[in-house]
Amino acid sequence: MEKLSGGDMLIRALHDEGVEIIFGYPGGAALHIYDAIFNQDKVDHVLVRHEQAATHAADGYARATGKPGVVLVTSGPGATNAITGIATAFMDSIPMVVISGQVTRDAIGSDAFQETDMIGVSRPVVKHSFMVQKAEDIPGIVKQAFHIAVTGRPGPVVIDIPKDVTDPGEKYPYEYPETIKIRSYNPPTKGHSGQIKKAVEILMNARKPVIYSGGGVIQGEGATLLTELAKTLEFPVTNTLMGLGAYPATDKQFLGMLGMHGTYEANMAMHESDVILAIGARFDDRVTNSDVSKFCPDATILHIDIDPASISKTVTAHVPIVGPVEPVLKEMIDQVKASNQKVDKEALDAWWQKIDHWRERQCLAVTPAEGDIIKPQEAVQALYEATNGQAYITSDVGQHQMFAAQYYHFDLPRRWINSGGLGTMGFGLPAAMGVQLAFPDATVACVTGEGSIQMNIQELATCKQCALPIKILNLNNEALGMVKQWQDMQYGGRHSASTYADSLPDFVALAESYGHTGIRIEKRSELQEKMNVAMAMKDKLVFIDVAVDQNEHVYPMAIKGGAMSEMFLSKTERT
């Protein structure tokens, strides 16, 4: 059998696992591993400028491809810097394997230089973690780590490796296991047929149904089946922020996003529904609003999820179905087609009429600002036009994120990449790097704000080094827009620590100093044309700094403590 050092074993194991690219940053405890990377050419390494960006880039790669993202960092600060990105992936159930260097085995616990208890620090934000005790264990642990990261409800897995375990001078027999069985870990592989049957019977008798689907449908490769089910039943569909793209946004059965900044029609339909089919969604507080007792009072809730702990956590499910989305939806479609019951066409027609009536309210209509001022929504619309709706869009967190979700209509899954659960500012640019590296020829745009982009702006250097032609759309309102919006609405307009207009960088010059192209757009009349020019620069990273209306709020917006039907529709209107 071939003999390898621990460091070589690790990289070989990653290759044998099918890993093509890892995102990382070197440091003392990881140097043996970095030497192993240097000595081979099968696994690429992308050098980021901050470990948080490595995790977000791997995360973006994972969301866009469905394959696990891989991160390599050193011990101590390298490991702790990765934590925010690990937590981001954990909250959104993204498969990721994070390898962290650790001080040598004999130094662990001695407060050695750059020592941190990574297993302990990461514990609440990982699906599982491993501390490698000896080099011979590396192939088995890597195999287990990937198996755990991608199966069941996916999530990040940490492998912490003491430096001496990767010593190039000590070699051990290497063999990568083909299969793995973990006796204490057996995620469900199919749903309960009896429960699916029960759910189908309720669906066939529904008079005011809604399909509410979340990120699980995308993660579980269920988008095509979701569309087939919805088309077969002719039911309306709403997606969560994480689920956008699981159902084609331009289809007439799509109601838009639901929840805090969901559309009027989606939230009204949820509230008045008699049956909700929740698929891969978790009744998050940004969907249900804070008081779940007011949530959809007349609805019978059918809930499909791979994680039993997500079912009946906040809202009680009448028919829980634990299982992976794909086989469950397949069986459900088969049962619907074989059913001798028919959906009440008349009731469904009346329901659609009601929905069309809600749609007439045109809750997302944009009223142009006075003069030549650009509304942030218009900037997203211009991006949609310039990219024919075909781009991969990453975003940061705040108003721009909601505008992107509302105005960029995603027809395909894995095209909308944002931090929904943790809400991590600084996610967008590094995530876009991961997407662009996975799909070098695709158009990848990062919709961001001047607040979020500054949280990982250093990655412009990584983009230069890797020649990534990302398009950054900076909706620049010279303030932390969402914070300011809440302060306007709930704190009497006291803008505590949310403005910094006098200290913003010149983003065009900043982008240029990193070797990229910068464009500033200030006039509505020039918006589309300049956007088209920027998007046509296929080989360049273009930083598009758009001066937008500084007083704009995101609407609709759920009224705190209310039911789903209670929303602000503009600064002056509410339901």
């Binding site: 609440p124 599982h128 973690s129 501390m131 006796r183 870990y185 702990a309 009946s312 956590k313």
Partner: protein
């Protein structure tokens, strides 16, 4: 309501901290906790007592099941079961107190396992309620130290918690 949950998990470093961490992370209570390897040294059995309404207990059970190191678990309080806790208690035993303490100890079927001129160390086994009762019965004496193991339990009859 008080629950006793028994968990079979991998006897590996880090497994216990994952279970305990889950409780603090999700704001669940742990009233007592005991853990030791089973007849199979690769498996540990952990028994904990907690309180919560049905919804909370359901979430606790589901989240414990999600911990990768957890192989199997059971809520013993769902069925008929035996629960035991062991207590070592040091009490002052001088003068008239000396005979009185011994008498109470006999009533509770405790054993005096260590004796000094001024104190007794008593070992007592039973349900937590019985142990609490014993402490209350000793109200008239000076309790110097208490060491309790926390609850361990097992289902009655044919029901077995095994892989």
């Amino acid at each position: 309501m008080r629950r006793i949950v028994s968990v079979l998990m991998e006897n590996q470093p880090g497994a216990l901290s994952r279970v305990v961490g889950l409780f603090s992370q999700r704001n669940y209570n742990i009233n007592s906790l005991t853990v030791a390897p089973t007849e199979d040294p690769t498996l540990s059995r952990l028994t904990l007592t907690t309180v919560g309404d049905d919804r909370k207990i359901e979430q606790i059970i589901k989240h414990l099941n999600k911990v990768v190191d957890v192989a199997k678990l059971v809520d013993l309080t769902e069925g008929s079961h035996i629960e035991r806790e062991l207590m070592l208690i040091k009490v002052k035993a001088t003068g008239a107190q000396r005979a009185e303490v011994k008498r109470i100890c006999d009533i509770f079927r405790g054993d005096v396992v260590d004796v000094s001129p001024t104190m007794y160390t008593i070992q007592l086994t039973g349900t937590s309620e019985k142990l609490d009762g014993f402490i209350q019965a000793l109200a008239g004496t000076t309790i110097l130290e208490v060491a309790r193991t926390g609850v361990s339990g097992i289902a009655r009859g044919e029901k077995i918690l095994t892989l």
